[in-house]
Amino acid sequence: MIELNGVSKSYNGTYKAVDHLDLTVPKGEIFGFLGPNGAGKTTTIKMITGIIKPDAGQIRINGKEIGVDTIEAKKQFGYVPDSPDLFLRLKGLEYVSFMADIYGVEQEVRNSRIHSLAKRFDMLDALGDTIQSYSHGMRQKIVIMGVLVHHPEVWILDEPLTGLDPKSSYTLKEMMREHADSGRSVFFSTHVLEVAEKLCDRVAIINKGKILFCGTFPQMQEHFQSHESLESLFLELTKHE
């Protein structure tokens, strides 16, 4: 569960990247965070994950406040950043087990998770190679494995589908569904609207640091009294201002 209360962040004292954001992502839900480029999606995710500090407001993950109970809050989530070009000199397996160490995953659990994840993502043959030799999609997959190896309560992903082939993309979406169905939460940002429309239980649309709409897709259609696709509604919402 993620709760944001009155969260704001401005750069250079004037430019408001995120402006008084309120948001709740309950357990068992896939939540899509949509918005045009530069809308404040990544800034919001960085505040939730403790990378940057909000100027105002509170952020709680499973009830633990990130600015106060920092380490406990960080144990609650797994984060997939938008660029997977990290730890390139490590072998895939070294990276995943590094992540398992950081999150304190026990030996037996870790072994079986690594095996099953590698199998699902078709990475069994790549674990012994350095991440540098991976393609973009494979790097994305190893980062996702590094997160799922510690089985986080809350799963936060920044543009996770970029660069994945259709099969891996399908697998990832399947995993997100399983994750939510097992009573945990998934929060992800995207600008692929079809994915959001099909996958998400609820979406929020953010533009210029403000949330324009938050709810289910049918609610959105109801709200605007139209039966247009998410794409048209999205374009409509973000056009003005």
Partner: protein, 554 residues
Amino acid sequence: MNNIWLLTKIMLKNAGPLWKSKKGSGWKSILLLVAILVGMMPMVISGAWFLSGLYDGLAMIGQESALLGLGLALVSFTIFVLGIVYVLTVFYYSQDVEHFLPLPLAPREILGAKFLVALIYEYLTELILLGPLLIVFGIKSGAGLVFYLYSILLFLVVPIVPLVLASLLVMLFMRYTNIGKKKDRFRLIGGIIGLGAALGFQFFVQRQRGSMEDVEKLQQQILSGDNVLLNLATQLFPTSKLAVFALVNSGYLAGLGYLLAFILTTGAAVLLFLFAGDRLYFAGVMGVSESASKRKKVGGQDFAKLAKVRSPWWSYALKEWRMLWRTPAYMLNCLLPSLIMPVFVLIPLFGIQERGELITALSGWIEGMGGLSLAIFFAGSLFIAGMNSASATAITRDGQGFFLNKTFPISFIQLLMGKLLPGVMMSFISILFLLVAAAWFLNISPIFLLICLLVALPGVVLINVLGILIDIHMPKLAWTSEQEAVKQNLNPLFAILVALLTAGITVVLVFLTQSQGSLLSVAVMLFIVFSGLDFLLYRVLVKKGPGWIEKIEN
């Protein structure tokens, strides 16, 4: 030509300033820079003093221009050697190359811009090497304005020919050994060969040294053409003679002639470079960032080894350790210098003819001095720890990926320990090397060595923690190539300075308070004082560290 300027500007901007200062703390950087300059003053002053002595001697026999010849030739040679490293990293191994390759640019345009970038780095080196010489010569010879004008012009032109030579060499090598798939291994071997060459050069200089220290002897050698080093340098760069003639005759029309001739030769070299570059560069650079993979399943035993459970900070340290050794730029810049250092220290021992006597004298001195010799050894350990920039670049090396650290559920202290351990270990290994070598050459008692090692520990930890502190406050995270992270970064230099300062203060304090002190009393005192400092610093870090890390936003 326009494209070359454009590219140069972009490359320089992309590389960013030498160090990143946070908003409103510009004074901090300025203060540190001033500290560096002050720290280097003694070196510069003694250098100038040596040069002016040499000038006086040569002037008596009317051969003072030989000094300029020596200087220019040596500068050219140094720039050539450094140039090989710069060209490799700037031309071939900087990540921006891949962005330029698809653009509709001629190889010579990319090369021209990269050449200018490398040239700017070389100017910095030249400033330290040639600046004092030109000024001393100008003042001593009472030269006129034209001399200084020529000096500035020559200063700008002199490094071009050596850099062209270095470029041609590297481009040829890269063209015909396009071993892109094994680029890391190549970098490693290349770097080791480079270091070997540097070592050989050092050895070579040392053999000359007996005479170098003696101004008169050196003068004789310069005049009689006996000095091998000088001969080598002038033979490699014959054009530097033109530059010397231009300077010496700056008062006459002939000087202008020589100057023009020098500039023309340099221009021809540049044309040759561009011509060769058009034919060699792309063939060598394409595919240089590919890396090999096996695509084989990881078997049971290997799997168990790699996936073994470790505590978070230990796992973090292991990760750092692996990245340090596997990234050639890090290995060459952070690890090797401190390993090589002890060897460098020992080489003079080989070079000196009366070695036996010296060793006996040294051994006797060490035994006789008691506590002070321990303090001096301790100071040496601090210096070696400072030479090792693993800690002073620990934050910077994470680059744009640093933010990920902040999402990990580990305490600041665990992170710090993980980052600290590789540096401390490497420093300690270097010191062990030095000790073993010292024990072998000088007959020092094992107990003395053991005490040295024990006492060094808190000192080494202190220097490494200070290194990380420097890097936490001024990390340079926006780098585009690993070389940039460790080489175009002033933090390692600050760390060396801090180490030198600490070492100096320690020796002076021990000398003042414990000059009669026994070995044991000095050992106990050093150990207690430095452990105390470590503890104090630890308290400060526990309290302030998390806030500092939080402030790093990229």
